[in-house]
Subunit: 382 residues, 2 copies
Amino acid sequence: MDVAIIGASMTDFGQRDAWIRELLAEAGARCLDDAGVDPGEVDHLYVSNMASGEFEGQTGVMNALVADLGLAPAYAARIDQTSASGGAGTYAAWQSVASGASDATLLVGGEKMTHRTTGEATDVIASLTHPVEYKHGVTLPSFAGLAARHYLERYDAPRRSLAAVAVKNHRHGVDNPHAQFRKEISVETVLDSPIVADPLRLYDFCPITDGSAALLFCPADVAGEYADEYAVISGVAGATDTHVVHEREDPTTMRAVVDSGRDAFEMADRDPSEVDVAELHDMFTILELLQMEGLGFADPGRAWEQVEEGRTTRGGDLPINTSGGLKSKGHPLGATGVAQVYEIYRQVTGTAGPRQVPADVGLACNVGGFGNCVTTTIVEAR
Amino acid sequence: MDVAIIGASMTDFGQRDAWIRELLAEAGARCLDDAGVDPGEVDHLYVSNMASGEFEGQTGVMNALVADLGLAPAYAARIDQTSASGGAGTYAAWQSVASGASDATLLVGGEKMTHRTTGEATDVIASLTHPVEYKHGVTLPSFAGLAARHYLERYDAPRRSLAAVAVKNHRHGVDNPHAQFRKEISVETVLDSPIVADPLRLYDFCPITDGSAALLFCPADVAGEYADEYAVISGVAGATDTHVVHEREDPTTMRAVVDSGRDAFEMADRDPSEVDVAELHDMFTILELLQMEGLGFADPGRAWEQVEEGRTTRGGDLPINTSGGLKSKGHPLGATGVAQVYEIYRQVTGTAGPRQVPADVGLACNVGGFGNCVTTTIVEAR
């Protein structure tokens, strides 16, 4: 059964004076409103969230959201795939409709993080790593530094090409009213910022963010009854890489990106050249390059050239992260994968406003951990 | 598409000298072994777990389990519905196969709790309640006490009928090699135990437990290739009740039990009289009675008579909790719903050993919070 997306929303991302429960309710209510669907029509609710218990001491957020949106007696569950929870939620929502279990599934992803220090937030995220890595202090940013150094040396890529990813995504984010940082930066801004994990500097990293995003799914054959503009999920797949990063054969190959991308393209009967717009998981600048290569948008070691040549900016061959990406828009863990699909939905339905690019086929790639788990979703206009 | 269960396992429940990761791997490996399925054949993995982050500071357990079982590149996600996480995992696994996304889905539920004090564990569980309830100190045991008092007074039921639930489940648990407490108790044991939440006493409550359980799902039309003995999920549905308990119209009606049960029976084209064996969520003795009534196994206010008359014990009309239930077997949150379906699978495939009762149709009802979220699953022999 083909599955359609008939509504989408996101809250402002940034430092929000609201708890996770309020953020989820804000996005969820806006999404139902966007679709023009009554709360009573929702059969299933999935909440994508990594760690409301660790961040706020509040669990059971899916049951609270049923109450806040008036969805009872709808079935509800929380789905976690660390920073790829939103992608996993998209896949779960697709499954709930495609299996015939639900005629209307609401997905709301969100995280509340900024009330904790950056160190505390990094520590919660690092709890997903292998305990041996964790005990040696190897957090995700340090893996990113190692991978970046390896990439630059192996492919003779200039350091400034990494900065170019951040510069592009900040430029895109200026036109996103929900983005955390709506300001342009220069290559020098990045190169002059403090070192975090050599060679990566502060502006190579996404921020700590509060926010939420939501999508409403239904069978494609009834989508026209709800919405004039809608999209279908033509491909969706997930994959897992090694839990211990040093066990990977090649430090610049994101195996789960390759695997989930290949399976999603196969399901959609598409190839990378047919994608018009993509949202990639630029938690660190280096990741955008590795995902471009893993998904087949660039040959190994060559993605940096496309970025430097401006081919991934608005107006280029394949605009990437028109939303501003995690870098500028922000990265509230559970919301991110949902917000990626939100942006693709806006693009392929021609409702992206000042960010609009010509697009019939879009792709979102949501990465958990340092590529530990990845979900790739292909969305097309109908 | 009909979905079959072709393998099942559970670890010993109790105080275990093993972390969550080890418990999940133990159940998962045994389940694959039980089904005779190679790890490389698994497409999807779901892990049912409420709070490994809060209990152990370890997240990403689904990715770790992919590594420990050699499942890569299988897709993996964690699903949480508080103490009903195992039921939600069963529903998610059903959806993953029924949607065509996976030809073999492994579900592993587990929780590691006993390294924390009872107070700490109760506090983690209480974090699922509404913050107003939580701040007033209303934990789940106190709700159970209020509901029990209301039930006893409203229906003129004797206090000893609640104790009879515990006595029956302890008797059943003696024959379960994996149960935490394999010892018979008497009505007096319950009535003489310390008060926890009047009128409920210590022996009306399930213990804090470590443990894990697993199930392997595939399309029913290929199940015969894997297993001589298998079962199909003929019905599965979930529902959500109010988040704030005092908003409920009737304190002895578990609305989400009623709703999920009705939907599961409708999907299975069965009625309550056709059920041969059931696993109910006896976190507190009173809950077993309320679920019997909510599912249509007894009229409102009359379930206690069936228990007192011995009709829900082995050899009775409808044996309930042949596994020993949460009371005797233990209640490792994320494992419980999976272990319930494990027991039903054993019963309907005639592999329950000394616990065997005549059964073609079985039902499992997994309850989250104080009935906040419920999943009901009907499993039948094929």
